[in-house]
Symmetry: C2
Subunit: 251 residues, 2 copies
Amino acid sequence: MSSLTIIGLGPGNLAMRTPQATAALERATDLVGYGPYVARVEAPAHVVRHVSDNREELDRARHALTLAASGRHVAVVSSGDAGVFAMASAVFEAIEHGEPGWAGLDVSVVPGISALLAVAARLGAPLGGDFCALSLSDNLKPWPLVLQRLRAAAGAGFVIALYNPLSQARPWQLGAALAELREILPGTITIVFATAVSRPEERIVITTLAQADAACADMRTLVLIGSVGTRLIARPDAPPWVYTERRVTAR
Amino acid sequence: MSSLTIIGLGPGNLAMRTPQATAALERATDLVGYGPYVARVEAPAHVVRHVSDNREELDRARHALTLAASGRHVAVVSSGDAGVFAMASAVFEAIEHGEPGWAGLDVSVVPGISALLAVAARLGAPLGGDFCALSLSDNLKPWPLVLQRLRAAAGAGFVIALYNPLSQARPWQLGAALAELREILPGTITIVFATAVSRPEERIVITTLAQADAACADMRTLVLIGSVGTRLIARPDAPPWVYTERRVTAR
């Protein structure tokens, strides 16, 4: 019996990879994913690594399904959680529009610690209330819709996690998003740029909306937009804690 | 040196608890939390269990901080992720408004697989695009604000995860929220009631907004509101996959 397991590896630190994910990786005959994520997985030499570029998600999903249909145990790996701006959705899209037999394959999804949760834990408790996750990429949705969602979420007081804030192909989106937010939110709102959390190259910048500079972000950065209830607690000899009050009073 | 670690236990299945969480629990001299969550942790007999009711979060946080300040290694445990509608925010609120020495304690947060991520993985990939998490409890925010956030998120096309959909003290909120959503979204939108995911008593109901019945939920249920891009894929001998298309076209 073959299988296809879509696995969230967590943010990078092995201590945050679940035993369920590790067990699923140990069953795999084939690893499929974006190069740096596949490289993170230790596996015996007989395991075949199928590495592809970051932007070929649907091709990669079809390739994984073809392998599984041929009898292999395939692990499709993503950083963080596979269901959050990662491979899971592409695999199901490929199943729906692909070979009739694919819906009968033994497919499962193994959740992982998402970048959002890892960043939040590192900072304190910035997701103390209602929150949303929004991709700034306009590869898959029109830019006016990105802005509409940003305005809706900020206007209603959600804490916002921005995924895919910018890339070489999309250098201006984060700056435009910050400009839009300055029209809606006070300049004192807390903004955090969190890059490569839990990895050796981790970098965290805590600032305000008025001061925030899009140049603090790269394609691996999660940008967190606080709400009016987001607060800093000074600590001796450490960066401040960031948390969002649980209680919201009428505005 | 004492410590206070705020730990997300994951949704219940031990295979989803991270090694980081397990290691932190093994260091604890004291476990603090809501009774059923503390009961989930296996620990040697000398570890002291401090159990409290679910609604006393700030008192529980102060108690944990007092223990840590007295030299104990305290683990505050939550189900899922401690930063998502759980204990982390209450602990930082207690630090900010509590004893001056508390901000200098060795505090850390260990992320966990949140109910949202566990439910999404179980269903397929319903969070394929932008999403938000919203608590329906009006203990900590006024009900009109809950409705405002619900309208904003649904109107902008976010997939919505509703936490705390109802309780014995709040029996009507979920019905009112579904009625509000019916004013904004098509009746064909997918709604999922997911209860106790990954545990033996797991129960999942996949339905539509038009058909959704608040009686399918209890206080442990996560209610997922799809978007217009949320689709079902029929499977032989299994419930359908639920996933949300990555691509959104202008509406």
